[in-house]
C-alpha cells in the first residue's frame, strides 16, 4: 500500500539495525511516548532488532490508560442517567471504573454510542433536542482540535443539550514529570509525531535543553521508529541533546497554526490527574471561560471519585517507564485483556495489552 509499504521494508529495517549496532558503545534507555508507537514496536518486533544494551521503555501516551478512574466513574454515572446519550471513542468503552465500564452501563440500559468524530455527537444533539448528548473528550493534543471544533460548532448552533466530559491531557508536562521522578531511567525520547504535528516543537526544545535529553520527532511505521531510535542513539553517543525532526512528511516545526488558534479560543490549560502518575500541574485542557456552559462536569452534579487501584497492578511504574509489563507479578495471570486490573491492559494502545497480544514466552527469541 502506497505511503505504508515503503516504511515497512524488511531490507531497510535490517540496514537500520546494523547501523544502530555499529553506533552503540554502551547501554541506553529510550522511551517512546505514544501508545501507537509502542504497539508498532511490538507488532513488528522492532525491539528485537536492536542490540542487547538498548532498552525501549514505554511511555504514558495512551489516553485511555491515563484517564483517571474518577472520570470513568463520572462517564458511567452519566451514561446511566435517563435522558442522557453518552458518546465516546470506541476504546473507552471497555475501561473499568470502580463501578463497571461503559459497556456494562450500556448493557444496563444506558444509551452509550461509539462515534468516530466529535462532530457526529454534535449532529446527534441537533437531531435529539429532548436528550442531553455528552461527548467523552479523551485524548492528547491530537484529539483536542476535533473536540474544540465540536464545541465551537455547538456554540454556533446555540445547542443547549450538548456538553463535553473533558479528560484532555498534554504530552510535554508528562515527559517532564517522568524526567523529574526519582526512579527515572529515560535518557532519550521518541516524541509523538502526530501530537507535534498539531503543537509544533517549541515545548520539546525547552525540555531538551532544560533536562539535557535528546528528543526525536518520530512517526509510527517500522522504519520511522528505527530511524528515530538511530537518531536518539547518535545524539546520546555524541553527547548532544537536541530536538530533531526526521518526520517532516507529517510534522512542521511550527505545528498547525489554525488548530492552535482554535485550541487557545476554546480551551485553557489546567492541572490534570493522570491515572498511575498522579496530578501534574498544567498538564491538561479544560473548557475556557467562553465555553464553560458546555462543561458536563459543571452542568451535571457528578459525584464519581474513583477508588483505589488494585495494589498488585504496576500500571503506574509501567506508564512512567520504570517497569516493563512482563515485570509485573500479575501480568498474564490475574491481569489479562479479558479481566484487566489496570488500564494499560484494557486499552488497544496500552503497553501491557501490546505485550500480551504480540509476545509469549519462547516465541521469536533472538529473531
Amino acid at each position: 500500500m502506497k505511503y505504508l509499504d515503503e516504511y515497512r521494508d524488511a531490507a531497510t529495517a535490517r540496514r537500520y539495525a546494523r547501523l544502530i549496532a555499529r553506533r552503540v558503545t554502551r547501554p541506553w534507555t529510550i522511551m517512546e511516548v505514544c501508545g501507537g508507537q509502542t504497539h508498532s514496536i511490538l507488532r513488528h518486533g522492532l525491539d528485537r532488532l536492536l542490540p542487547g544494551g538498548v532498552t525501549l521503555v514505554h511511555g504514558p501516551g495512551c489516553p485511555v490508560c491515563v484517564t483517571p478512574v474518577a472520570l470513568i466513574d463520572r462517564a458511567v454515572e452519566l451514561a446511566r442517567r435517563p435522558g442522557v446519550v453518552l458518546c465516546s471513542f470506541g476504546d473507552m468503552l471497555r475501561v473499568p471504573g470502580s463501578r463497571g465500564d461503559l459497556f456494562s452501563a450500556r448493557a444496563g440500559g444506558g444509551d452509550v454510542r461509539v462515534v468516530y468524530a466529535p462532530l457526529d455527537a454534535v449532529a446527534l444533539a441537533e437531531r435529539m433536542p429532548d436528550r442531553e448528548v455528552v461527548f467523552f473528550a479523551v485524548g492528547f493534543e491530537t484529539t483536542a482540535p476535533a473536540n474544540a471544533v465540536a464545541v465551537a460548532r455547538a456554540a454556533e448552533l446555540a445547542l443547549s443539550n450538548f456538553s463535553l466530559l473533558v479528560a484532555q491531557v498534554l504530552v510535554p508536562p508528562a515527559m517532564e514529570a517522568i524526567l523529574a521522578s526519582p526512579g527515572n531511567r529515560v535518557q532519550g525520547f521518541l516524541a509523538p509525531g502526530h501530537v507535534i504535528a498539531v503543537t509544533g516543537v517549541e515545548a520539546y526544545e525547552t525540555l531538551a535543553s532544560r533536562w539535557k535529553v535528546p528528543i526525536v520527532v518520530t512517526g509510527f511505521e517500522p522504519l520511522d521508529l528505527l530511524q528515530g531510535i538511530a537518531m536518539v542513539l547518535r545524539q546520546l553517543e555524541e553527547g548532544r541533546a537536541q530536538v530533531e525532526n526526521p518526520y517532516a512528511r507529517a510534522v512542521r516545526s511550527g505545528g498547525n497554526p489554525d488548530a492552535l488558534a482554535l485550541l487557545a479560543r476554546v480551551f485553557e490549560v489546567v492541572p490534570r490527574s493522570w491515572r498511575g502518575i498522579g496530578e501534574i500541574p498544567r498538564s491538561g485542557l479544560g473548557l475556557g471561560p467562553a465555553f464553560r456552559a458546555f462543561d458536563a462536569e459543571r452542568k451535571f452534579a457528578l459525584t464519581g471519585t474513583g477508588a483505589a487501584e488494585d495494589a498488585a497492578c504496576m500500571a503506574g511504574s509501567v506508564l512512567r517507564g520504570i517497569a516493563k509489563p512482563p515485570e509485573c507479578a500479575v501480568f498474564g495471570t490475574r491481569c489479562t485483556p479479558e479481566h484487566p486490573l489496570g488500564a494499560p491492559m484494557v486499552s488497544a494502545e496500552g503497553s501491557c495489552a501490546a505485550y500480551w497480544r504480540y509476545r509469549r514466552p519462547g516465541v521469536g527469541v533472538g529473531a
Binding site: M1, R14, G45, F89, R94, V114, P222, V363
Partner: protein, 320 residues
C-alpha cells in the same frame, strides 16, 4: 465468546459430536454420513454493500457445512421480527435469502416466525440450520491437522467487516468496500474432487483469520506459522483499517476460509482452489509446526515475529 462456549455450552451439552469442536457436526446415517450446523444472525445495518442479513443467514450456514466437507442440501430458517418492521424490508431480506440459496444450490425447506414487541429486537434476527451430505470418507477437522501441513488461504481478507463498518452511519466514513459474502462449497468441492486429502477447513468469520488460526492451533494442539507478506489485503481495506486502528487479520470475512492440506499436495490444492471463482486468488500463507503448541506465530513484514491470538471482545476503533 470462546470462554462462554467452553465453560457453559460445552459443559452442559457435552457429547462426542460436539467435542469435535468444529463448524458443524458429522454424524452417521445408514449408507452415508451427514453434517449439521446452526447459526444465528444479528447484524446492523440489515443491508450493507455486497449483502444483507439474508445473504449472511444462508451463506453462513452453507459455509459451516462446507467447512465439514459436506455438500449443503437443505436449510431451515427461523425469523424473529420486531413489531413494526416494514413489510418492504422483510421482502428485501427474504429476496436476498432466496437469491443466496439459489446461488449456493440449497433449498430452504422449513422455518418458523415469531414477532417480538417493538424495541425488543433490531428489526430482524434470523437463525438458520443446515444439513449437508459427505460424499467422501475423509475426517476434516482440527484433530486431523498434522505438523508439516500447508496452510492455504482462499483469497484476500477483511472485506466483510469493513463493508459493514462503513455502512454504519455512526462511523461516518464512506467507502466502496463490498462484503466478500459468498458460498464456499464450490471451492471445497474443487479441493475434494481434485483428490486432495483435506485435513481441516475453517471459515474466517468472527475474529477473522487470526482467531480462526488461533482456534485451530489450540484445538489441534500444534503450532501454526504464518507469513504476513503472503496474506493478501486489498488496498482500500488496508487503508480503512489503518485509519480506524483495526488489524485486518482480525476483521470478519463471510466468503473466505483457510485449508490445511499435506505439504506434498499443496500445489494440487492451490490449482483446484484457483479453478473456482470464489477462491481464484488462493495463496499459501504458512505451515503447521509441532510447536509452540497452541500458538500462531506471524513472521512480520520487517522480518521479526509476533503472536496472533484470539480476539478478546470486539475490535474497537481507537482514539488516535
Amino acid at each position: 465468546m470462546r470462554n462462554l462456549i467452553e465453560k457453559m455450552f460445552m459443559a452442559a451439552f457435552r457429547n462426542p459430536l460436539l467435542e469435535g469442536r468444529h463448524d458443524g457436526a458429522v454424524f452417521p446415517s445408514p449408507g452415508s454420513r451427514l453434517a449439521t450446523t446452526t447459526d444465528a444472525f444479528v447484524v446492523r445495518p440489515l443491508f450493507f454493500p455486497g449483502g444483507s442479513i439474508g445473504t449472511l443467514a444462508v451463506d453462513g450456514t452453507v459455509n459451516d457445512l462446507a467447512m465439514c466437507g459436506a455438500r449443503p442440501v437443505c436449510l431451515s430458517a427461523a425469523f424473529i421480527l420486531e413489531e413494526g418492521l416494514p413489510m418492504e424490508t422483510l421482502w428485501k431480506v427474504v429476496a436476498s435469502m432466496a437469491e443466496a440459496a439459489r446461488e449456493a444450490g440449497v433449498a430452504i425447506v422449513t422455518g418458523d416466525t415469531k414477532v417480538v414487541e417493538r424495541g425488543k429486537g433490531d428489526g430482524v434476527y434470523i437463525a438458520t440450520a443446515g444439513v449437508g451430505v459427505l460424499d467422501h470418507a475423509g475426517d476434516i477437522g482440527p484433530r486431523s491437522v498434522r505438523p508439516g501441513d500447508a496452510v492455504l488461504l482462499s483469497g484476500d481478507v477483511g472485506r466483510h467487516g469493513m463493508a459493514v463498518l462503513g455502512a454504519r452511519e455512526s462511523l461516518g466514513f464512506e467507502s466502496s468496500i463490498e462484503s466478500d459474502c459468498a458460498p464456499l462449497w464450490p471451492a471445497v468441492d474443487a479441493l475434494l474432487r481434485g483428490g486432495v486429502e483435506v485435513h481441516c477447513l475453517r471459515d474466517l468469520t468472527r475474529g477473522g483469520l487470526a482467531s480462526a488460526a488461533a482456534e485451530i492451533a489450540s484445538d489441534a494442539d500444534c503450532g501454526i506459522r504464518l507469513v504476513e507478506r503472503a496474506i493478501p489485503v486489498r488496498e482500500d481495506v488496508a487503508g480503512a483499517c489503518e485509519l480506524l486502528g483495526l488489524d485486518p487479520f482480525y476483521v470478519a470475512n463471510e466468503g473466505r476460509f483457510i485449508a490445511f492440506v499435506p505439504e506434498a499436495s499443496r500445489f494440487t490444492a492451490l490449482a483446484a482452489l484457483r479453478s473456482v471463482g470464489v477462491s481464484a486468488d488462493a495463496v499459501e500463507i504458512g505451515t503447521v509446526s509441532a510447536g509452540p503448541r497452541g500458538l500462531v506465530v506471524l513472521e512480520s513484514a520487517v522480518g521479526s515475529e509476533r503472536v496472533l491470538d484470539l480476539l478478546s471482545g470486539e475490535q474497537l476503533p481507537r482514539i488516535c
